[in-house]
Amino acid sequence: MAQILSPLPGTFYRSVSPDQPPYKADGDAVAAGDVIGLIEVMKSFHEVRAETAGTNIRFLADNEEPIMAGAPLADLD
């Protein structure tokens, strides 16, 4: 199992905008390089990508949750 960690402190978003579906749902397969969420830092947005592929992603951070750099965002099998 791998963990996807937040590269930055800020606010975590699971979709590109509130009216869009999340990038990934719990249980989805993920390819290396897939965007799994956004971190908003001081009003600028940064994509979070999976570094490795996995068959099952489970999110640990909620949408709009404030997070610290290095905080786990999701588990990946």
Binding site: L8, P9, G10, T11, E40, V41, M42, K43, S44, P66
Partner: protein, 454 residues
């Protein structure tokens, strides 16, 4: 006079407002999110209220939580600062509806100036020059051709339903215009479900010049202009007053037009009328009116000696304007630079973190408006403005020398900031000559950004 003020903001502007209120003997209530419990504005206020979690939507933008904090602490007034809810007409209405004083204009005035079309109409009706263009929507190519008589070339064709730069085409000649117009129509229809277009003259090389006004609902005065032509992504980074680009005659005309607009809309409080100034044509055009105190207000305070935030509070407390136009005069030159937690060498990437070391510049003609203190943890949830360094001197040249001196005194350890940008700009021949326009900095950054290491 107001008795107790809720400061509905954070950061340096909350500190600025608390200071002005305390100078006037008005008690202050700071509000803060869970991320700001250790902030300077919380330390300085007489009372504090936690209004929610870090996300601005759940705290500083939460009208219900703000009104409850004001009620629970017995406030008679609310100052919105800038950003957040400062230009939210519904917030102004809600504060007034709760029986409190909103330190700013009415919801109706905010609404009128917040809508591009109604603001442009109000300005035109008050005799303020607007960017030449169509009065409203342009009905078809033939109607578009008649508007060309006013705009000339290049002309911008914009989707009426567009925004954020989308749906814009520029035509440099009649041939291009005849081609571009139907394309823009089709594009607007496809993108926005609405093919409506309007047209505006393209002002190629323009300066951003804005006029500070103070008004009490019937009378209005101006406090002269600021020039804010150094911008990156439409964000001002360096502001100064007065503008050296204007002749005395045009300056009087510009400032009088801002007063005429403020009077025409029965404006109350501090406001800023923004213009584009076309050097080549020696003409100015209204862009918009900001119905709040602005980040760069200290440069006006430096050259006029007027405490704009204190005047806002007095006006909100029911006083008439105390200052007559004839009493406002310009002394010297002032420059403000915005120190942001951003790394200018890395495309201005945000850089939240802890202030490991802080040395604040001082001495004659130096002002430092900030919420920083040693050990302060800059949260990642809000904008990146850390501090504003304002210098004032007899001349522009002397102000630039003083800016360099003060920047060298300043030390913010542990963070990357925009300080290297301002040292480089202060040494640049074009900046020294004042030979800049609103798109100048972005071009300069392409050449020079890599050299701006902290």
């Amino acid at each position: 006079m107001l008795k107790k003020l809720l400061v509905a903001n954070r950061g340096e502007i909350a500190v600025r407002i608390i200071r002005a209120a305390q100078d006037l003997g008005i008690a202050t209530v700071a509000v803060y999110s869970a991320a700001d419990a250790g902030s300077l504005h919380v330390q300085l206020a007489d009372e504090t209220v936690n209004i929610g979690p870090p996300a601005a939507k759940k705290s500083y933008l939460n009208i219900e939580a703000l009104l409850k904090a004001a009620r629970d602490t017995g406030c008679d007034s609310v100052h919105p600062g800038y950003g957040f809810l400062a230009e939210n007409a519904a917030f102004s209405d809600a504060v007034t509806g709760a029986g409190l004083v909103f330190v700013g204009p009415s919801g109706d005035a905010i609404r009128m100036m917040g809508d591009k079309v109604s603001a442009r109409s109000a300005a035109a009706a008050a005799g303020v020059p607007v960017v030449p263009g169509s009065a409203g929507r342009v009905d078809g190519l033939e109607a578009g051709r008649t508007v060309l008589a006013e705009t000339g070339f290049p002309v911008m064709i914009k989707a009426a339903a567009g925004g954020g730069g989308r749906g814009i085409r520029i035509a440099n000649s009649l041939v291009e215009f005849v081609q571009a117009f139907p394309q823009a129509e089709a594009e607007a229809l496809a993108a926005f479900g609405d093919g409506g277009l309007y047209m505006e003259k393209v002002i190629g090389k323009a300066r951003h010049i804005e006029v500070q006004v103070l008004a009490d609902g019937s009378d209005a005065i101006h406090c002269y202009e600021r020039e804010c032509s150094l911008q990156r992504r439409r964000q001002k980074v360096w502001e100064e007053a007065p503008s050296r680009a204007l002749s005395d005659g045009l300056r009087e005309e510009l400032c009088a037009s801002a007063v005429a607009l403020a009077k025409a809309v029965k404006y109350s409080g501090a406001g800023t009328v923004e213009y584009l100034y076309d050097d080549d044509a020696d003409r100015f055009y209204f862009i918009e009116m900001n119905t709040r105190i602005q980040v760069e207000h200290p440069v006006t305070e430096a050259i006029t000696g007027i405490d704009l935030v204190a005047e806002m509070l007095r006006i909100a407390g029911g006083e008439k304007l105390r200052i007559r136009q004839g009493d406002v005069s310009v002394k010297g030159h002032a420059i403000e630079v915005r120190l942001n937690a951003e790394d200018p060498a890395k495309e201005f990437a945000p850089f939240p973190g802890q202030v490991a070391e802080l040395r604040i510049p001082g001495g004659p003609g130096v002002r430092f408006d900030s919420m920083l203190y040693q050990g302060y943890q800059v949260p990642p949830f809000y904008d990146s403005l850390l501090a504003k360094l304002i210098v004032h001197a007899e001349t522009r040249e002397a102000a630039i020398m003083r800016l360099i001196r003060a920047l060298n005194e300043l030390r913010i350890g542990g963070l990357k900031t925009t300080k290297p940008l301002f040292l480089a700009l202060a040494a640049d021949p074009a900046v020294r000559a004042g030979d800049v326009h609103t798109r100048w900095l972005e071009g300069w950054l392409i050449e020079n950004a890599a050299t701006l290491a902290n």
